[in-house]
Symmetry: C4
Subunit: 231 residues, 4 copies
């Protein structure tokens, strides 16, 4: 009886998390994987608190020192992740532990192949990225903001940062090809938007990628408020 009373105070999802965690076999995974998985779980809580991963949207990954990649499995709420919801894939997006990756996994692996210095890719579905892609069909230009300096390699507000916008496509290899062609022609790029869908951004660590994410969302919201989100 006492147990039920306690459950009333304890959040529902926390109970699920604790129960699921207890059955997860940590022994199959390396320490590097478990640490990366924990960072993705916690990044999910941070990002969900901001309202940027409604329902089961979004997916996150971190590259390990040996080149394999920890990535969220398909279909989970990103604010309620447990380590068991993170899987291991190789550089070509093949599952290494039998779990099923998200259809968008190839968008992560192609970024890791192109940029040897990046170790994390985060893809939320924020209102700001969804809405700004209705305002600007091909690119978002950010200028005269001090916060541009939060992006790796930018050291003055007098920079011009361009975030490309790609049309949404359920054919992910074709969407990945669109991204590849753009990146072939634009060496410096911090992030891209898929129209009506969300943002992809990356960095040298989960922490740096969260910094990029927080800065870009702030700047998109400023642009939306300045321009009144008219179609």
């Amino acid at each position: 009886m006492i147990r039920v009373v306690e459950n009333t105070i304890k959040p529902y999802y926390l109970a699920i998390i604790t129960a699921k965690q207890a059955t997860f076999d940590f022994m199959n995974y390396s320490k590097a994987f478990l640490e990366a998985a924990q960072q993705l779980v916690d990044a999910g809580r941070f990002i969900d608190n901001k309202g940027w991963v409604p329902a089961t949207s979004g997916n996150f990954s971190a590259r390990l020192p040996d080149g394999t990649i920890a990535i969220t499995v398909s279909g989970k709420h990103k604010g309620q992740l447990v380590i068991d919801d993170i899987m291991l894939i190789d550089a070509d997006a093949n599952s290494l532990d039998g779990k099923k990756p998200s259809a968008e996994t190839v968008l992560h692996t192609s970024l890791y192949k192109r940029f040897p210095a990046i170790y994390s890719v985060l893809h939320p579905h924020s209102p700001s990225a969804t809405l700004i892609s209705r305002l600007y069909a091909s690119e978002v230009v950010l200028e005269e903001y001090e916060l541009l300096k939060a992006l790796s390699g930018i050291d003055t507000h007098e920079s011009r940062v361009v975030i490309p916008v790609f049309a949404n496509d359920q054919n992910i290899p074709r969407l990945a090809e669109q991204v590849e062609q753009y990146l072939d022609k634009h060496e410096i790029c911090h992030a891209y938007i898929i129209a009506g869908h969300g943002l992809y951004t990356w960095g040298s660590s989960v922490q740096e990628t969260l910094r990029h994410l927080e800065a870009l969302d702030f700047l998109f919201e400023c642009e939306l408020r300045l321009h009144g989100v008219k179609k």
Copy 2:
């Protein structure tokens, strides 16, 4: 004296909840009811944190395996529910435990009768549903959003999802009849809006219904921001 100091730090409503919970007789209810009730209590906390059940608005239900229904009683704050605030009704909305159901209970039971596969109905009073019904008098059309895929049965952003809007009516059987007539003609429907009032949505579990709710609120807010909430 120590007790009063501790109360200062402990939230007021938590104290009420704990006190009330202690007097509730769990023995009259099945394990299935108590589990469903706990899910509704926790869904209430989640939904209230989003600001979607101001004052004592909204009501929530879950169907049990035996066809009876756990549903919130009338007049409680949905962010401060305890299990004692959940009652048991039969498929025809009759009270099975002597508690008084909300006037809107029949809107829940008629959805359960129509859709055998659904096991939860959630009805919040979000700003987004209230406002969008001033923008669109008969239906809200959602297109070109990746997040449409959070709705059961939708697998591409190239879908056209229609959410009907019904005029508000204090005569609930008459309002239920309005809904019935619409659903007779529209086999696929994920939710409806009562103008100036709120959203009804449903799903195969409390968790799936929360996913529908989170996705629809996100999409309504996008539409409101894009179209400027003009009358």
Copy 3:
């Protein structure tokens, strides 16, 4: 050393609260006062979490069974109240414990004199009330909202609720007189707005007054979003 490490995790204001509370002499006050004071402290946390009492704005009160009134002292942050920040006054706003009441105390006492059935008055400084008084100079009319039913005595969305707006005035007795003259002519009134300042609302308990507050803020925000907050 350990102590400092723990302080880093413990919120700053909580440390202040705990320290202050420890020196407060509970023995001078009745149980009824301490219970009412605790309700006002907790109402302050609830209201501050909504963003409705920035800086040290707002003031709250509750009438005790013997007709004396527990009310917040002047100059405190309403989200960080302790019981020592609540004082006792008589029905004419005279201090009964030597503490200094807010200049606006007479606005509370005159409401208690007029309405024998009310036992709480809450006055926050919400953005919604501040902004809506720039949109409507003399009254805010609320119609066709289901949430109107959260106001005591309203049982249909087909009601017309009027919230008067009074010009701000640093001369509080003169402002109170303005309110008195309006209430002499309008028997039913749930709340009023002081322009560029905030809302006063009341009810039969702290809990009912919080319900009025939550409903009115929701409805003001709807009106602001519908009408675009143009001057």
Copy 4:
């Protein structure tokens, strides 16, 4: 194994904070420094909860009784500060403990030199200050708000408060000179805005400065909503 399960529930950043804190040598610092540092750490949590220091933006300081200054080091997330992220400088912005101050430190020290009565300077990057500087190029005028009384020395809503806006400049001494010239001509000033960047405000304590910050952000948001944030 248990340890990993517990980490899932414990926030990621909290784990980092605890680990870092454990290695920090408190013995090198005075009690006055540690108390001021703790206030800045906690102010950071408060300000980050409001969304006013995205990414690693912002910097905060407090003057000690001996005239030295506790100030945030460069490059940290202000919502995740630990005492080790606060450093000690002299009145001329020289490091006294070997840590590296932010480039903007001189904006703090010149305010302390000019105003002997102030003991704290807080500089967040709020959306409101960033956006309002696109609306008003040289000054923001605040009038007819009760909340103006939250600013030190203001006792009526019938005041006219002017917050100057300066162009952003990566040359901080040149920016500081701009500020100096303005303050030479305007004895009473509660805060200034750097365009596209953020707000500087100050007060007799960290607590008073937080009050100024909370009031100014509220008033800027009111102005933005009233005037529609048009360029």
